[in-house]
């Protein structure tokens, strides 16, 4: 911590007793500093109040709620009861299995596909702008529009996807209606909706790779795949790892897509995610304690990823 208030003034706040400035000047400096600080805090106050009410206070409250019970308007301290309740709820383990399945599938699709697409687009000398535009288009749709659209595509009776499978003489699927395909269907829709941002970031990173590296690799006789593995991937490693962390953090909090596509639960609860379970505890069962306790579990699990993300992005700046 430096003393920021002194940054513009070369004079020390507490000058030595013998040959300091006269007392009047000292008071003047003090007044000036005070005024500077007052106006600086004046600029800050609006945002700080918003943070206090809508971020910091709820953060504290999340911790308190997790160890409290609220019944008949009275709040009682119940220690670890909420956590105990959550851990013994069979839905807890199913929600975690589903969420991890979603995250795993989303990493295969949502993490790899944009990278491959970015590499492909980057190779073209024509129509790059159009392809970039296409990939980003779905990101601009309101989520309810893309999700309800996909709901029609997935319809086993008259949906477009089964129409295509039928046309190709492939077996038709139940999509959202079957436990074996419901989560995959949610991930496909979610990837289509969200991959534009990652693709653009990869494209920007790819454009920063010096061409000489590829030339050098060619002299060593490297083919396309080896060039990707030995040049492209290492050169974009930082962005790749940042986006990987971001994807993990985001996908483990997935709510909107399964909620809209399958009303949250899906066949036999096969698309119930952790955040949907939090939602259910809080807003269907009015059990805020259980919701907060489950939230705390999620928070602890994601804290490590968040910390790694913040550290990595700080490193990327310097």
């Amino acid at each position: 911590m430096s003393a920021p208030t002194l940054s513009t003034s070369s004079m020390p706040v507490k000058p030595p007793q013998h040959d300091g400035p006269p007392p009047v000047a000292r008071r003047e400096i003090l007044v000036r500093n005070l005024r500077r600080n007052l106006s600086a805090h004046g600029f800050l106050i609006g945002a700080v109040l918003c943070f206090a009410f809508f971020s910091w206070y709820p953060m504290v409250r999340e911790f308190l709620l997790a160890f409290q019970k609220n019944a008949a308007g009275r709040t009682t301290w119940v220690g670890l009861d909420n956590l105990d309740y959550v851990f013994h709820d069979p839905a807890f383990w199913q929600a975690w299995r589903n969420t991890l399945l979603f995250t795993g599938l989303a990493l295969v699709l949502g993490f790899l596909v944009p990278f491959v697409i970015a590499i492909v687009i980057n190779e073209f000398r024509h129509a790059q702008g159009y392809l970039r535009l296409l990939v980003y288009l779905p990101v601009m749709l309101p989520p309810v529009a893309s999700v309800l659209l996909f709901k029609y595509f997935y319809d086993p009776g008259y949906g477009l996807f089964n129409g295509i499978l039928h046309f190709l003489h492939l077996p038709e699927q139940q999509w959202l209606q079957s436990t074996s395909t419901s989560m995959l269907s949610v991930v496909i829709a979610s990837t289509w909706m969200n991959m534009g941002g990652a693709t653009l970031i990869y494209l920007a990173a790819l454009q920063g790779i010096p061409g000489e590296l590829y030339e050098a690799a060619e002299l060593d006789g490297a083919g396309i795949l080896r060039k990707i593995w030995h040049v492209t991937v290492p050169q974009t490693r930082l962005i790749l790892s940042l986006l990987l962390l971001m994807q993990i953090i985001a996908t483990m909090q997935v709510f909107t897509e399964p909620f809209l596509l399958t009303n949250g639960a899906g066949p036999e609860g096969s698309t119930t995610t952790v955040v949907y379970l939090i939602y259910q505890y809080a807003f269907n069962f009015n059990n805020y304690g259980a919701a907060a306790a489950l939230g705390l579990v999620l928070l602890v699990l994601l804290a490590g990823f968040s910390a790694a993300y913040v550290r990595l992005s700080r490193d990327s700046e310097s």
């Binding site: 800050l44 009410f53 809508f54 206070y57 409250r61 687009i121 970039r132 999620l298 968040s306 990327s316």
Partner: protein, 291 residues
């Protein structure tokens, strides 16, 4: 263009290379158009079909007969004008609040350097570490009965506007941009007798246009795309956003009307995107690389 990429120019220059390049490009163009534009085409034309045609198997690629009145019916029945206006009201309100309060905060933290400024910045950035969905429940309980003010913010625009200010990422982006503005520029203004507010307005803001653009896009798109928070905090159907309103009305409307409604709900952001796509996409990549 100047930089070479994965495949060498020599390889592309050969007749065989050229043929493969154009072949692959055509294939990719077709595939991408089908995958990313196809659903939009289906949405727009689906809204023109009759209810029977929508529920027909296999689905038709072209409407057999056009029914544009589906659009006007959906517009009235689902009260899309109201939902659209609500969403615009929330989005631009959130934009104003974020621009005023977050810019002021970032300016103060970057240039005015108040006592405890670093602690405050640290506490703001700490909120990035907490998964957003974890905070939804305690945030909901907070707006239900605001501390100090003892007010219930449910169904009021404040419930969207004020929490949108707590965007540590935007403050961080703005602060980093302000940090790059040379000290001497501001010192010159202050020697001329300009107050901090005056300096912000006539020196800092004019050179900060690019970053203000990025933050504005984030602010508007954030409100436009949010679903869970407005669903919880705006239960009154007259106050709902497009996302929530269409979702809650989706069950009781014929399918062809609903699809027409989806097309209309998508149109505003798509049009804005097509107009400003160059700025939006360059801003997004510039802004989102460093988190």
């Amino acid at each position: 263009m100047a930089e070479r990429t994965l495949i060498s120019p020599a390889q592309l220059g050969r007749p065989r290379g050229k043929a493969v390049y154009w072949g692959v490009l055509t294939l990719v163009l077709l595939l991408f158009t089908l995958v990313f534009l196809g659903p939009l085409y289906w949405m727009v034309t689906g809204g023109l079909k009759t209810a029977q045609e929508i529920a027909q198997s296999p689905p038709t690629a072209f409407p057999k007969s056009l029914h544009p009145d589906n659009y006007s019916k959906a517009w009235h029945v689902m009260q899309l004008s109201k939902l659209l206006l609500n969403t615009l009201y929330y989005a631009f309100g959130a934009l104003v609040f974020q621009l005023v309060l977050d810019v002021a905060a970032a300016y103060s933290l970057s240039k005015l350097r108040p006592v405890l400024g670093k602690v405050i910045l640290g506490m703001m950035l700490a909120t990035l570490m907490i998964p957003a969905t974890v905070l939804v429940v305690p945030q909901y309980l907070t707006v239900l009965d605001m501390p100090v003010f003892q007010r219930n913010l449910l169904n009021s625009p404040w419930v969207i506007w004020l929490p949108s200010v707590t965007n540590a990422f935007n403050i961080f982006l703005l602060k980093r941009f302000f940090d790059s503005i040379p000290r001497e520029l501001l010192d010159a203004a202050s020697i001329d007798g300009a107050s901090p507010l005056r300096t912000l307005r006539s020196v800092v803001l004019p050179i900060s246009r690019p970053i203000l653009g990025v933050v504005s896009i984030f602010a508007i798109v954030g409100v436009w795309k949010d679903f869970l928070w407005p669903m919880l905090t705006l239960p009154d159907p007259n106050k709902q956003t497009l996302n929530v309103g269409i979702y809650s009305l989706a069950q009781g409307v014929p399918e062809n009307w609903l699809i027409a409604a989806l097309a209309m709900a998508s149109a505003p952001t798509l049009i804005i995107f097509l107009i400003f796509q160059r700025n939006i996409m360059s801003g997004l990549t510039a802004g989102s690389l460093k988190g």
